[in-house]
Amino acid sequence: MHKLKQSLFISLWFVFLTFPLLVIRVDTLNKVVEWRWRNMWYVAAGAFVLSLAWRHFLEKSGRVMPQGFTVSEGKEEFLRWVRAHTQIRKGGMVLAAAFLLLSPFFLSTYHTNVMTTALIYIVLGLGLNIIVGLTGLLNLGYVAFYAVGAYCYALLNHHFGVGFWTALPLGVLAGSIAGVLLALPVVRLRGDYLAIVTLGFGEITRLILENWNEFSFGPSGISHISPPGFFGINLGVRANTSYIYFLMLGFCFFTIFMVRRLQDSRVGRAWIAIREDETASQAMGIDAARAKITAFAIGAGWAGAMGVVFAAKTTFINPASFNFIESAMILSIVVLGGIGSIGGIILAALLLILLPEYLRVFSDYRMLIFGSAMVVMMIFRPQGILPYVRRSYEFHLQNDPTGQVK
């Protein structure tokens, strides 16, 4: 009964809010005011039903909203079941690997390109995860490092004809340097302040690229960037697309491998400790400033590498590719997937890149759907799609502890 009353109130509120827009229409030609009463009923009924459903699901999810942590049992059980059954997991992995390895041979160039983009975003997500997920530094300007990498290759290629494989390490280096430059002044900042400074950094980078014509060719960008070389052989368009795809696939696995190693190391633990409690981590002998700068350098290095790949893949870049929406997208991948969770980030990157690509019909509503999906996620599953499970250690005998992963 209480629920009904609340929903009724909400629907009334919505009617009030939308009244001027949806009900009243002033017809300036005939100089009459048109009253579209029917719309009001639609809004009222819609708001009422949605509000009821919303309340129902909130209740079902365990009503632990204030604490901010809700775990829907069913899904969790499923995840545990998958984790427990190694055969199923292995089978799934083999299937996925087969698909990934064979897809360029039966998919069209367009689809392969889309897949490559998704892979780039997986790596970007994993790179940002080091900064945001592990170290807990909210970075809203990550795309700046991506831009630095891309322009590094584009400019070197344009002026000096430097090839992809030479530019790749240079891109990593340039990204890392940019990361350290940003990290040096912001190591003392926390939370919102850090977010604002990084946001500013991202925008400044984009504005410089847009306005410094002599350096970056302004909004018109740089074209005719060489695609990655393949032992000096000139590949056709199709073969080249597949080549970049496999390159990215290798990169992706390399990144996963590296990030996993980092997570389970002394450095990784220091990062997580800083995220959890900076003061306590310092009292435990962690040099927080140094660890943060390292995190920025490594995370930014990955973005730099991806920038080089991106420039080589599209052969044309301009500042429009590096606006704030890109940063927000990469951040959403990390948050949606589950902070710190590699599997979650892969899944979220695939969802966020592939779904909009294949649901072009709804492209007008993309941001709307995206926004509401984020809100729903934050309320029902704030820990992400695949939350990070802490590594656990198994101890066999009381006196013979061997640190083995379970």
């Binding site: 802490r390 656990s392 250690y393 640190g403």
Partner: protein, 262 residues
């Protein structure tokens, strides 16, 4: 007995407020010393100065580690101080809530190990060896402190008393010679307090640690400590063995107020 830490004429100001004024303190090898005093007396400020959270305005803090020479640690960063062998716990528990119990302690080993990013990526033999050493050492501490049943539990899910003990274990992992405990018994029930007392005594006898603690539980302080230092309004008003301090009229006045109004 040889002192492990000496504080001389320590001053600390917050704006116009003299939070610490001419505080002297000496902790000897294997000694358990308590700092007591009414709320706002400057006890935690003193701790924060010792642990490198604040830089004292004047005065000296000297440490005499068992290995290595005497050092003045005024204004050193907290991580440096932890590395030199002063480990602390916090008044309101500050564990790493979403790390497991074992990982919490493993973080404490940070300043005693060296592996960097490159080592983490390469995972060479030395790094693996070091990682193994960290796990073993941490697990050993966990057993010592009686929390081995919780190894893979998230620190956040531990009962309150266990969280307090875990914080001590984490501090021990940094390999200190002096342990600073900020209200270790706060919020504990009598049973847990008793266990804590046993634990602190054991740390002294088995590890040879000196312990400096802030505590409000007078029963615990009186039975546990060798020496008590009483503070009020940022100054040390009394120091001595528990019995002496208990009988000191200054102390009674600080705690119960002036006689003449009564």
């Amino acid at each position: 007995m040889k002192p492990v830490m000496e504080v001389k004429q320590l001053e600390m100001n917050f704006g116009g407020l003299k939070a610490l004024h001419g505080v002297d303190l000496r902790v000897a090898e294997g000694e358990i010393v308590a700092v007591i005093g009414p709320n706002g007396a400057g006890k935690t400020t003193l701790f924060n100065c010792l642990a490198g959270v604040y830089e004292p305005a004047a005065g000296d803090i000297f440490i005499h580690p068992p290995v290595g020479g005497t050092r003045r640690i005024n204004g050193l960063k907290s991580h440096k101080i932890a590395e030199l062998g002063l480990a602390r716990t916090f008044q309101n528990i500050r564990l790493f809530p979403r790390m497991t119990v074992l990982e919490n302690i493993m973080v404490g080993r940070h300043c005693r190990t060296r592996a960097g990013v490159v080592n983490a990526l390469m995972r060479d033999k030395k790094t693996c060896q070091e990682e193994k050493e960290i796990v073993h050492h941490s697990y050993g501490l966990l057993e010592k402190i009686g929390l081995s049943e919780y190894v893979n539990e998230l620190a956040d899910n531990l009962p309150y008393g266990a969280q307090r003990r875990l914080e001590i274990a984490r501090a021990l992992a940094t390999g200190p010679f002096l342990l600073l405990l900020d209200e270790p018994a706060a919020g504990m029930n009598p049973q847990e307090t008793k266990e804590l007392e046993v634990l602190v005594r054991r740390l002294r006898s088995e590890e040879g640690l000196a312990i400096l603690l802030i505590e409000h539980d007078m029963k615990l302080v009186m039975s546990l400590c060798d020496r008590i230092c009483v503070m009020d309004y940022g100054e040390k008003i009394a120091e001595g063995a528990p019995a002496e301090v208990r009988a000191n009229p200054e102390v009674i006045r600080a705690y119960l107020g002036e006689d003449d109004h009564a």
